[in-house]
Symmetry: C2
Subunit: 201 residues, 2 copies
């Protein structure tokens, strides 16, 4: 599946600008199983406009550049339906965190402890975001709550595993605290010595 199909699919839920589509695949329920960058979204929309799969409405805005709001056309829906009628590709999960864990022997203990904690916090955040999505925003769409439920289940199980098997990787620190109320906080073996200005490669 390519970015074209992805954009068409999103536009069936509501009309949107390229910028908004990007936000949706970053933050919305969509974000948990699809991905795309500006560099592919904008050209895809331009091309699909020329082909009549979408149409545009320029929304003038004080100061900011005009927002180009795209909407899917009947022809676009037709193309989408055709593009979807294939066996979906296998799920793909990428995790640099897991890669680093596999190679922990090459890393300072403090680094491993730090990324482990960050990963736990990241997963908690993601789960929280899904719950918010389902709560406030209209996840009236039945398949949306299904997809959200799946994400919550998977991420929840992963999080629980990380919480339960900390000792396997980090030796022992914070042994069994999560049982009380779920708020583990104090790492007696401090990580504070390290700066946290590491950049992604």
């Amino acid at each position: 599946m390519n970015v074209r199909t992805l954009c068409l699919g999103i536009l069936t839920f509501k009309e949107a600008s390229g910028y908004e589509i990007k936000k949706m695949v970053e933050e919305d329920v969509f974000g948990h199983f699809i991905d795309a960058s500006y560099g592919s979204i904008y050209p895809a929309l331009t091309k699909m406009m020329a082909e009549g799969l979408v149409n545009v409405r320029a929304e003038e805005q004080a100061g900011k550049p005009d927002k180009k709001v795209y909407a899917i056309t009947p022809f676009g829906r037709q193309e989408l339906a055709a593009a979807l009628l294939v066996d979906p590709a296998k799920d793909k999960f990428k995790s640099e965190f897991m890669f680093q864990i596999m190679l922990q022997e090459f890393l300072p203990k403090e680094h491993v402890a730090q990324i482990y904690q960050s990963q736990i916090e990241y997963l908690r955040d993601e789960i929280e975001k899904i719950r918010c999505c389902v709560g406030d925003h209209q996840v009236n769409h039945p398949s949306m709550s299904f997809v959200a439920g799946f994400g919550e289940a998977s991420l929840g199980a992963g999080l629980k595993f990380l919480e339960d098997n900390r000792a396997q990787i980090l030796g022992d620190e914070t042994p069994s605290l999560t049982l009380v109320d779920g708020t583990l906080d104090h790492n007696k073996d401090q990580i504070e010595g390290q700066s946290k200005d590491q950049k992604n490669a």
Copy 2:
């Protein structure tokens, strides 16, 4: 993280050819959280050889082309350690299956039923593969069993969700086996319209 780092990481476990590295990211424990294609692996190995990060040993084989077995050098290990000392990028999960489910209204019912069943079987296979990996093959490496455990937990929860929430997407077919202790409740009356079994591949 790029393919270079990925190859170096894998080569710390054992020396391997480009072909074998590809197999490893396809089938081994690695396969559950990293990915790479021939088109990126081969050039990466060639370049890293020129840079002294790996070295090669040509293994002659009857008939087949010589196998070029790559091994990581001390300099390669040094570079790997440096490349790993960054905040890992966010996990990324891609699922065309979920995308199709979100857009099920554009798809024939039978197609949805078919991909749903395939997805369940696919997840069962993946979990089985992980268990095999841990069983026979040497997952002596402690972090390998950790990573395998994480995968099993996440995939297992996802699989259970699909099994338990079938009705939410497919209407009703194959209704109740998991209902004994399950949390889902509001399934009193079902539409018994179609009970065709679809076990197509």
